[in-house]
Structure formats: C-alpha cells, structure tokens
C-alpha cells in the first residue's frame, strides 16, 4: 500500500505540472516576470503564497511558469524518441536479416556519443531553442529506448503465445504492433517515457542554471530560479527552497514511476 500511495502521488505531481504548463498558455507572462521594488524578498502572504524573490516577483507564479520550460519539451522529446526508436527496434527485434544488422550497427554508433555532449553539439550547431533541445534529447535517448524495445521484442517473438497468434491467422504486422509492442511492451515504454520526462527536466534545468543555453532570465526555469535566488536568502528562503523542492520531487516522482514499471 505505501508503494501504491507513492506511485499515486508521483502521478499526481507530474499530472499537476503538466496541467500548470498548459494553464500558462492562457496566462499573462507578467504574472511571473513583473517586478515590484516595494516587495523585495517578502515572506509568504495570503496574496502571494510563496512570497517574492529578490526582484519582487511572485515565487508561486514563477514556479507555475517554470513548468512550461520542461513539460512541452518533454512531450516533444517523447514523441521524437518513440517515432525514431519504436519502428526500427520493433522490426529489427522481430525479423532477422539486414534490418537487424543495420539496427545493431546504428545503435552501436549513436550510443557511443555521450548524451549531454551530443545535446551540446546539436545546440551549438542548430541553435539553442526549446524545440531544438527537445529534438536533441529525443534523438539522444533513442538508443536507450530502442535497446529496451529490441530486447523485449527479440525475447517475445519466439514465445508460444506469439506462435499461437500466428497459427490463428493473425498477420505478422498485427502480432508485432498490436500484441507485442502496444501490449507486451507497454510497461517498458511507460518506464522509458518517465525516464525521458526526468531527463528533459534535469537537462533543461542544468542548461538554464549554467547559463547561455536553456531558458534564460527573466523567463523562469527551475534552474535559473535556483541559481539567482540562493544568494538572496535573507528575507525569503522559499525563493530557492520552492524550486529546489519541486525539482527534486519531480525527479523522484519520475524515478518512482520508472521503478514501479520495471518491477511490473
């Protein structure tokens, strides 16, 4: 039961961050970026739940808008990784021949380049926008996802239930996509989607913390909120505790979901 509660809490937290990110589309950015020199480092009040930071900006609103920095890139990365990894890994795992050899060769090549190094190189070459970051992360994560799908499909293709479906008249395409990938591999896919979410969150926060890449001030991101608030803890420590706590909570939530999927 405690595991179930942890799992449920993780899903709720991640769902909440997605909802907040969607909500920010219709909200005014000035809610997060508007400064007020008369309210610097204010403690929490009923009108400002987490107080204000060193520039008088509402910490609560900045946290809401900070979710936009990683949720939409995470969704795009998931789509890119699935689009690249699933078809090739599933086909290579199911069929023998040149496709399998080609997949193993490409996997071996792409996985030699460290992910963060690859992302940095792509950002340097193609521009440091959120879309490029998301696509770079999706491509960088493809070897990991494809390896998991390939192993699973390769193991399942010779099982008795697959042979039974084949003898019942189901086509190879239906067996592969409907039964193996969408049903038997769903747990594996969910685990890796949770990992991608955490990875995008961590990479985007890291880049915005380091500066030059990622979301930059005055736009809020968990990374730059942590970086610029630490030195101003006199007055409102929540300005750095809140983004730090949210970041850790989201990473742990994704880890909990991923671990539970692995256990299943």
């Amino acid at each position: 039961m405690p595991q179930m509660r942890k799992h449920l809490a993780s899903w709720i937290l991640i769902g909440l961050s997605v909802c907040l990110a969607v909500l920010t589309i219709v909200l005014e950015p000035s809610l997060a970026n508007g400064t007020d020199t008369l309210k610097l480092n204010q403690p929490p009040t009923p009108s400002s739940l987490l107080g204000t930071d060193h520039l008088g900006r509402s910490v609560a609103w900045r946290l809401c808008f900070a979710t936009k920095a990683f949720v939409f890139p995470a969704l795009l990365s998931m789509v890119v990784a699935c689009a690249l990894a699933l078809p090739m890994a599933a086909l290579a795992g199911y069929y023998d021949g040149w496709l399998r050899r080609f997949y193993l060769a490409m996997h071996g090549i792409i996985s030699t380049i460290p992910r963060f190094v690859f992302i940095l190189l792509v950002l340097s070459l193609y521009g440091a926008t959120n879309n490029v970051l998301a696509i770079a992360i999706g491509v960088a994560y493809t070897p990991t996802l494809s390896e998991a799908i390939f192993s699973r499909v390769n193991t399942l293709r010779s099982t008795s239930w697959v042979r039974a479906h084949f003898s019942w008249g189901f086509s190879n395409a239906t067996i592969l996509w409907k039964f193996i990938v969408l049903r038997a591999c769903s747990t594996t896919i969910k685990k890796h989607l949770a990992n991608i979410f955490a990875y995008v969150l961590v990479v985007e926060s890291t880049l915005s913390y380091l500066g030059s890449y990622g979301v930059q001030e005055p736009n809020p991101s968990l990374g730059n909120m942590i970086k610029f608030s630490w030195g101003y803890q006199e007055g409102n420590p929540l300005a750095f505790i809140a983004p730090m706590t949210l970041l850790l909570a989201l990473v742990l939530s994704a880890h909990t979901i991923s671990t539970r999927q692995k256990a299943q």
């Binding site: 380049i113 963060f116 990473v251």
Partner: protein
C-alpha cells in the same frame, strides 16, 4: 581459464574490427551533423563575407556530403581533428585538447571508482545502516548541478560563518578561488561519483550481481565444502561489472562537462562548453569524437575481458557490450 585458443582470437579480432567500424560510423555521423547545420564556421569570422570564396574551398565547405565523409576518414586516419577557430585560432585541435582530455578522463575514472567503492561499502550492511544507505542512494538521484550547488554553497556558508565568528582563519579553498585547488578537484570527483543517480544505480546493480552469484550452485557448493568463495565472487562479478562500466561511462563524461564548468576546472568538458558557445565547430566536433572514441575503447576492453574470462561469451554479446 586463461587458455587462448583460436576461437577467442577470432572473436577478439571481430570485436576489434567492430570497434574500428563504430569509430568510423561515429566520425561520419558527426560530419553529417556538421554538414546539415544551418550556416558554417565562416559566418563566425568578422570578415567572413569577403573571405568566403577562398575559405569555402580551403576548408572543404563547398563539397558534397560523400566527399566530406571521405575527407573526414582521411583526417581520422592521420589523427587530424582540424584547427581551432576560437581558443587559439589556427592551432591544431589535437594539440589543444590532449592535456585537458587526459585530465578529464582521469577524473571520470576516479569518479567511477568512487561510485563503485561507495556501492560496495553498502553491500555488507544490515539493519538501520542499510536503510540509511538506501535513503542516501535515493538522495543521490538529485541532479548533478543541484548537488554541486548545494555542496559548494553549504561549504562556503559554513566556512564564512566560522571565519566571521573567529573560529578559523581563511582557508585556501574558501569561495573556490580561480587557482588550482585539490579540494575543488576532489569535491568535483566525489560529486560526479555520487550524484545524478550514479551511486543509486551502482548500488542497485552491485546488490543484484551479489545476490545472483551468492545463490548460484557453484558458490553454495564451495561454501558447503568450507572453502573461501571470494575468488568465485570476483571472477563472476567482473563480466557484469565491465558491462556496467561500459553502460555508464558516457554519463560520467557528460557529467564532467557540467562539473568542470561549475568548478572552473581546466578539462575537456569545460573546453567543449566554451567551444559550443563560440560555435568553434572543429573543436566541438573534435572533442565529441574523442569522447566517443573513449567509449568505444572502453567497450572494446570490456568485450575482450569478457571473452577472456568467459570463452562461451558469444560474438553477439561481445559486439553489443
């Protein structure tokens, strides 16, 4: 156990050939990324527009992708990574990165050893200490930059408080000055080995390996005869640990970029960050290729070790290590 026969030799040769092919593939992939990028290095020069007709021919930017692939392979065979345009314009990239790469690889290796040692320490514990170490493993999932930020600022705040209160004089490491510092380097290595899930993953995997070997027939038989089992543990733990090293080394190399930037260490990671910012394509792609080469070499060594220890290790496993 150590007998070398023709099958091991042929499989080892195959593994070396696959490693070389992978290196060629990585070179071509990086060259393709450079070819497909919008703009080119000439845009970065202040007088680029006037020099474009000459530089395009000299730098081979007017060539087709297949011709650039061929040039890249020729340069790879000579160990030529091009010339830097930003750090010291005109300087050979290999000369520029040789020393930083050695330092970075040493730090990555030490960080990995730190992770393994910390993971091994947790194996023999029980009860409350085991639970505490499990919690520590969970805490280690914190992102690397966050763990570094908290560690550095906490150390600075405590030290400043102690200096202000008169307990100590200003230590050499205080506020992490720009000069070389052993404390900074050691802290960076520890954080790389601990944070970003490294401790957690190593700990979990070592426990799985230990349990698998512990419950195996040969260990139980050895134990029942009253003989020491550590040799069996060591011998059977090396192949999965080698696979784990191969799987995790790219994460350590990526983490180095972050740590060297935060701790102002003069390694390949910091050089890569600056090259990426300055859009020094030759330096950035050269460093990427060096990192990829290191991963390939690590894989090759791990495969050869696995083949030597377990001659039944098939070629498909060796090539996928």
């Amino acid at each position: 156990m150590g007998r070398i026969d023709s099958k091991i030799i042929s499989q080892s040769a195959s593994v070396v050939v696959i490693a070389a092919a992978t290196l060629i593939g990585a070179t071509l992939t990086i060259e393709t990324l450079l070819w497909a990028a919008p703009g080119d290095p000439i845009d970065l020069l202040p007088n680029g527009a006037s020099l474009r007709p000459i530089l395009e021919i000299e730098w081979g930017l007017d060539r087709s992708l297949s011709e650039r692939w061929w040039d890249a392979l020729i340069r790879l065979s000579k160990g030529d990574l091009g010339t830097s345009m930003s750090v010291r314009p005109g300087l050979d990239v290999w000369t520029l990165i040789a020393a930083p790469v050695q330092r970075s690889l040493l730090w990555a290796g030490l960080a990995m050893v730190t992770s393994v040692v910390l993971g091994l320490i947790t194996i023999g514990t029980k009860g409350t200490i085991h639970r505490l170490l499990h919690v520590l493993g969970i805490v280690s999932i914190a992102p690397l930059f966050l763990a570094t930020h908290m560690a550095v600022n906490t150390i600075n705040d405590i030290t400043f408080g102690a200096i202000s209160s008169g307990y100590i004089d200003r230590p050499n490491f205080f506020a992490l000055p720009l000069e070389e510092s052993l404390v900074r380097t050691v802290l960076a290595i520890f954080l790389l080995g601990f944070a970003s899930g490294n401790l957690y993953e190593w700990r979990e995997e070592i426990i799985v390996i230990k349990n698998r070997i512990d419950t195996s027939d040969y260990v139980m038989a050895t134990r029942s005869r009253g003989l020491p089992v550590w040799q069996h543990f060591l011998y059977n733990a090396i192949p999965p640990l080698a696979s784990l090293v191969v799987a995790r080394i790219p994460l350590y190399l990526g983490g180095l970029v972050i740590l060297e930037r935060l701790f102002l260490l003069e390694g390949a990671g910091a050089l890569l960050w600056n090259a990426a910012l300055a859009r020094d394509y030759a330096l950035a792609s050269g460093l990427t290729l060096v990192f990829a080469s290191f991963v390939i070499i690590t894989r090759l060594i791990a495969s050869l070790i696995q083949l030597q220890i377990n001659p039944r290790h098939s070629l498909s496993h060796a090539s996928n290590a």
